[in-house]
């Protein structure tokens, strides 16, 4: 009797959380799709002019910007995170692991506004002084996002590396491979789908990040032509304008949300596919 109660109770919670997710999805589609109908898919996706109060809803520069900062984050955070995961799983002793893992989780818990703040205070002036431009730029944003995705990349890659059987390592070492040869010829290839998944989930984190990006990206309404140009991402666009938008302007922001949602869903799908294929 009690068992049943617990079971159905848990099921109700599980289903309701799914239901809320579904509700959010429907809500965004419901609000976002009408404008696609009214202004045209091509006008929105490929249009380069965003002037929603004057009937221009082009978000092409923002789509490009979102992709650019995401890849920028990956270029910086990917190799760094993977190196860190390799160090943690292959080289560090038990005590070091016990210290570094929680430290990493702490890093994941820092609010994004703090990253943004550090970015404005240190990274932006540094980029301005050493490379030129306004400092609020693709480069600064990529640097900040690169650090922000580290916990995701490290912890998922770490799990993937740790799940490579010890016997693979022994087999390789017994055949006269050095430790490093064993790592890059056997351990990393065996964990590659998990590592790939960590990169993609890191990208998902980067593309969805808003607060820190608004603070360091400069939010200019055009396609950046160099890494020192300011830019505006999809998420920033929504967050910056939603407070005062009304009518078609508001709908335009929801359309931005629809595009973002679809991109994130695709990324998650690829990540899950990667994890499944590896196991």
């Amino acid at each position: 009797m009690k068992e049943y109660f617990v079971k159905y109770m848990l099921m109700a919670f599980a289903l309701s959380s799914l239901f809320f997710l579904f509700l959010i999805f429907i809500f965004i589609l419901f609000e976002g799709l009408p404008l696609f109908h009214k202004a045209g898919l091509k006008h929105i996706i490929l249009g380069s002019k965003w002037a929603p109060t004057k009937g221009s809803f082009g978000i092409f520069p923002m789509i490009i910007s979102s992709f650019l900062v995401t890849f920028g984050a990956l270029i910086i955070g990917g190799p760094m995170g993977l190196s860190c995961a390799i160090y943690l799983s292959e080289y560090s002793g038990k005590r070091m692991k016990m210290f570094l893992k929680p430290a990493l989780e702490l890093l994941a818990g820092i609010p994004s506004v703090v990253y943004g703040f550090l970015g404005v205070v240190y990274i932006v002036p540094l980029v301005r002084d050493y490379f030129g431009g306004p400092g609020f730029s693709l480069l600064s944003t990529s640097l900040i996002l690169g650090v922000m995705i580290l916990p995701t990349v490290i912890s998922i890659s770490f799990d993937a590396l740790m799940s490579v059987p010890k016997t693979y390592r022994e087999g390789s070492l017994a055949m006269g491979a050095t430790k490093w040869q064993t790592i890059y010829k056997v351990v990393v290839p065996s964990a590659k789908s998990g590592i790939l998944a960590s990169f993609i989930l890191g990208m998902g984190r980067a593309i969805g990040e808003t607060m820190a990006v608004i603070m360091v990206a400069g939010n200019a309404l055009r396609t950046p032509l160099s890494i020192l140009d300011p830019l505006r991402t999809l998420t920033s666009n929504i967050a910056l304008e939603l407070a005062y938008a009304s009518g078609d302007h508001r709908l335009g922001l929801f359309s931005t949300g629809v595009v973002l949602l679809i991109i994130i869903m695709i990324l998650n799908y690829i990540a899950n596919f990667g994890i499944k294929k590896g196991s």
Binding site: G93, G171, L173, A174, G176, Q181, V186
Partner: protein
């Protein structure tokens, strides 16, 4: 008769737990030396002293001397990679790398820097022949090694070890998960290989030790209880413990 390996007063501790308690023995060239004993008696630990794999554990203490060709591998500064090419190991569970049959065997030679495809092919072929596996594999060199049967995988691991051109081959319970037919094939291969190599075979199966080894050692709780020509160990064991173990009274 020439000693290839000489062990003097070997002691091994994991933290404070003593696992080998003063082992002394000499292992001959071109012979199969069997090591038997109940689980936990230190056989695998002994094997991983010889290939220096034990040094990856961070809580071990090793005392004593182990000479291979007169060089003390414990106390002198030997290159681990060089040593593992000279002392090949086949583990209990066959663990091919997730690659093709060919690549599994070519892995060691490639690490040595051999790149020439023909040369690699020759090594792969010879190694498979010596492991009695060539006939089964000659048309399947590009299939994934993970798709082979357990017995084939274990012979693949033997071939992979042979490809390193070692002088000593260590086998730690190589037949524990295999059926009698696969076991027989491994035994045939080993009997053939002793002409060229020094072979150490750890096995829980006393019949197997009696069948194919020339010398045998009996380990019990970290002590070397008995060591001598297999025939003598099995017919006139000097120690009562050995007799009990061989006749299956415990193990």
């Amino acid at each position: 008769m020439k000693a290839k390996i000489t062990v003097k007063d070997l002691e091994v501790f994991f933290d404070k737990n003593q696992v080998l308690r003063g082992i002394n023995l000499s292992i001959n060239k071109n012979m199969i030396t069997g090591i038997m004993g109940p689980a936990g008696s230190g056989k695998s630990t002994f094997i991983s002293i010889l290939n220096k794999m034990l040094e990856f554990e961070d809580n071990v203490t090793i005392k004593g001397n182990v000479y291979i060709d007169g060089v003390d591998i414990i106390n002198s500064d030997v290159d681990q990679v060089e040593l593992r090419r000279k002392v090949g190991t086949v583990f209990a569970v066959p663990i091919p790398l997730p690659r093709s049959v060919f690549e599994n065997i070519a892995y060691g030679p490639r690490l040595k820097g051999i790149k020439d495809r023909d040369e690699l092919f020759t090594i792969v072929k010879e190694s498979l022949e010596k492991a009695f596996l060539w006939d089964e594999m000659k048309d399947r060199l590009n299939t994934s090694a993970l798709k082979l049967s357990g017995g084939q995988q274990q012979r693949l691991c033997l071939a992979r070890t042979l490809a390193l051109k070692p002088e000593i081959i260590l086998l730690d319970e190589p037949c524990s998960g295999l059926d009698p037919i696969s076991t027989a094939k491994i035994e045939d291969a080993l009997s053939d290989l002793k002409k060229e190599y020094t072979i150490i075979l750890v096995s829980n199966n006393t019949k197997q030790i009696a069948r194919i080894t020339d010398y045998s050692a009996f380990f019990y709780m970290g002590n070397l209880i008995e060591y001598g020509p297999t025939e003598k160990v099995f017919t006139y064991p000097a120690n009562k413990k050995t007799e009990d173990y061989i006749s299956g009274k415990f193990g």
